[in-house]
């Protein structure tokens, strides 16, 4: 396992930085359909914040934020959200990922498209974050685990 840093300045500054990185990642995911960014970039930022904790404060404290064993499960869960939004649009009577046909009552189609792509971006973000962390954990240990 990657050993943690001995410098208290590195540990404190990275622990201070991590919530702001995660907040910016949430902004990037939530504004992905208005501005540059989106699910992949926001998910990579979320993963990078957890990797920063893994590198600086060690594996045990960073497991409190994101446990090692959840990496593969969460990446599968992100793909599930993506696919579930697509299938929900099919259930509503449209094509796969045709957001205007999502079965949510009382919202006009333009708003529904905006909402549907937000769900998809959330799924992509969760999947990318968990995949980055899972790759790093496997690399750091030198063998597969889940």
């Amino acid at each position: 396992m990657v050993q943690k840093s001995n410098s208290i300045i590195v540990a404190l500054v990275s622990r201070f930085m991590v919530p702001f990185i995660q907040l910016f990642a949430m902004y990037v995911i939530a504004h992905g359909h208005y501005s540059p960014g989106g699910g992949f970039q926001g998910g990579a930022l979320l993963g990078a914040s957890i990797l920063l904790l893994r590198l600086t404060v060690g594996e045990q404290p960073s497991n409190l934020v994101f446990h090692t064993r959840y990496g593969t499960q969460m990446s599968g869960f992100g793909v599930f959200i993506y696919a579930a939004v697509g299938v929900a649009a099919m259930i509503g009577g449209g094509l796969y990922l045709d957001y205007a046909n999502l079965p949510i009552a009382g919202i006009e189609p333009a708003k529904l498209r905006s909402l549907g792509i937000l769900f998809v971006e959330i799924g992509v973000g969760i999947g990318v974050m968990a995949t980055m962390i899972a790759i790093f954990d496997d690399l750091a240990r030198g063998h597969f685990h889940d």
């Binding site: 990657v2 960014g37 970039q41 990579a44 990797l51 590198l55 980055m132 790759i135 690399l139 030198g142």
Partner: protein, 81 residues
Amino acid sequence: MIWQIELIIYILLVASAVLALRVKDLLASVVVLSVYSFGSAFLFAVLGAVDVGFTEAVVGAGITGVLFLAALYHTTRKSKD
């Protein structure tokens, strides 16, 4: 677009790429490679592809450096044979 800024970025890209190949220490090589990725992210942003530049800055300068570091922990400085 301002050609002076582009020229500076191109020089930085070529210099950091050559330096990443030439430097002996693998850890320093990874850091210089992150500098290369950051320079190319600047170049993408200057050329108008903000989305690509954002991705390059996050993945190229952030994640791949960490992954290379994790792989470097399994290497030794001196070879056995």
